[in-house]
């Protein structure tokens, strides 16, 4: 993989800002102090977040439809989420260049390393234009033609670079441990016992991106089943609504889960939503041999079919 090395991040920032002045780049997706994504005309401030509080993929997806030449600095999980949004036709790759971090794991809201980052198996993005690795200097490597174009316009010292390979042992152990804890109706009920059905996990999810969500529709909520149950304090009815929401969401988008773990972080009741989704997505991934964020041209498993497959179903 063709790459360039910069002694300092400032050299790279300088080069990119020069391109912005020339009008070749219209904007950059970076972070503000609190770690939230913003799109700026000039590259300044924090490029990658110190604390992972919010995914940049939905914001970049919205900007990408403007077809302005943008450069988005994304974490590997955000890159994967963005690729999924492209497949869902909610984002465009036309003029966008994705620069993806070779990630070492980030801190959460509380400043400690996140559980999702500890067991992450996507430290290197599989479908991106440019990889960026920090360490001894800054290495910028082009993975696509679009990436090479941008790379050619920058200074720096040429070198060959290959992305490192990441282990998945921690992930496999995590899945096996979590899965054993959520078995049967009883296991699921105790897992979601604290859930207050606030839908935070759904809103924060970068790939749960339907413009009109069924669970927020009149049909699911306005019929009053949920609210009636709340008013009557019918715990059993409420527990079933909770199970339906989480299992239903697992059905709708578990195969697209990128394992960012934001759902777990966003939960005010500290339900292990991330563990639940990691287990569900692992199963769905294996069933359909589908990997979220692997390739833009790989179709979503529920959007296509083969004539001869899945003979065990029916």
């Amino acid at each position: 993989m063709r790459a360039k090395k910069f002694e300092d991040i400032d050299d790279l920032v300088l080069g990119l800002n020069k391109l912005a002045e020339e009008g070749r780049i219209e904007g950059f997706c970076v972070r503000d102090e609190s770690g939230r994504p913003v799109v700026l005309r000039r590259l300044e401030g924090t490029i990658f977040p110190k604390r992972y509080v919010m995914s940049a993929a939905p914001l970049v997806a919205r900007w990408s439809t403007s077809r302005l030449p943008l450069v988005a600095f994304l974490l590997p999980c955000e890159t994967a989420a963005f690729v999924e949004l492209v497949k869902l036709k909610q984002a465009m790759l036309d003029n966008l260049t994705v620069v993806s971090l070779v990630c070492e794991g980030l801190a959460g809201r509380d400043g400690e390393e996140r559980v999702a980052c500890k067991v992450c198996r996507r430290r290197i993005a599989q479908s991106t234009d440019i990889h960026i690795a920090f360490g001894d200097g800054v290495v910028v490597a082009a993975a696509t033609e679009k990436g090479e174009e941008l790379l050619d316009a920058l200074g720096g010292q040429d070198l060959e670079w290959e992305p490192p390979t990441a282990g998945t042992q921690a992930y496999e152990a995590f899945i096996a441990e979590k899965r054993s804890k959520m078995q049967g109706w009883e296991g699921l009920r105790s897992l979601f016992a604290e859930c207050i059905l606030c839908h935070n996990c759904m809103r924060v999810c970068p790939v749960c991106a339907c413009a009109h969500c069924y669970f927020e529709s009149q049909k699911a909520q306005g019929s009053g089943a949920v609210w009636e149950a709340r008013i009557k304090s019918d715990a059993a009815e409420f527990a079933r609504e909770v199970l339906w929401f989480h299992l239903g969401r697992a059905f709708h988008m578990s195969f697209m889960c990128v394992g960012c773990g934001l759902c777990g972080d966003a939960c005010p009741a500290e339900v292990d939503v991330f563990g639940f989704f990691a287990v569900a997505s692992d199963a769905a991934r294996k069933r359909f041999a589908y990997e979220a964020g692997r390739d833009v041209d790989e179709p979503l498993p529920l959007s296509v079919f083969e004539r001869d497959e899945l003979d065990d179903v029916g």
């Binding site: 199970l243 239903g248 059905f251 069933r287 004539r307």
Partner: protein
């Protein structure tokens, strides 16, 4: 025994009719639900039925390749495969969901599929979705 059936309008529902016309004995606790196509059955409906305590869910459509909308049942098959995978992963018995392809004329087969499904469910562990 409560079995919820999502029956496709063009084949399986007509097959249920045919079974009735042929005076075939059918499971008494069967609740048929007319859907336009098996491909229109969202997993949410299946999950809702199981969570609300149905002992079994039967999703039935046209034979593969003879869907009225050409490809609806192929899509249904993928969806139901995902549901079964999820049920299996979380230790909920995937046998509570049955997928069958039955054409409009196969009344006898419809009754057989339904009765066999009911018999099988009696041997399986009861669905405890509703028992909190």
């Amino acid at each position: 025994m409560r079995i919820v059936g999502f029956l496709c309008r063009w084949c399986a529902y007509a097959a249920a009719d045919t079974a009735g016309l042929m005076r075939k004995a059918q499971e008494a606790g069967f609740v048929p639900q007319l859907v336009p196509c098996s491909g229109a059955v969202d997993g949410l409906s299946v999950l809702r039925a199981l969570i609300d305590g149905a002992d079994g869910v039967l999703v039935a459509g046209c034979h593969l390749g003879s869907c009225h909308y050409l490809e609806g049942n192929f899509r249904a098959r993928r969806r139901m495969a995902l549901i079964k995978t999820l049920l299996d992963t979380f230790g909920l018995n995937p046998e509570h969901l049955k997928v069958a392809w039955i054409s409009a004329g196969e009344g006898e087969r419809f009754a057989n599929v339904l009765n066999e499904f009911a018999k099988k469910l009696q041997k399986e562990q009861k669905n405890e979705g509703k028992e909190v």
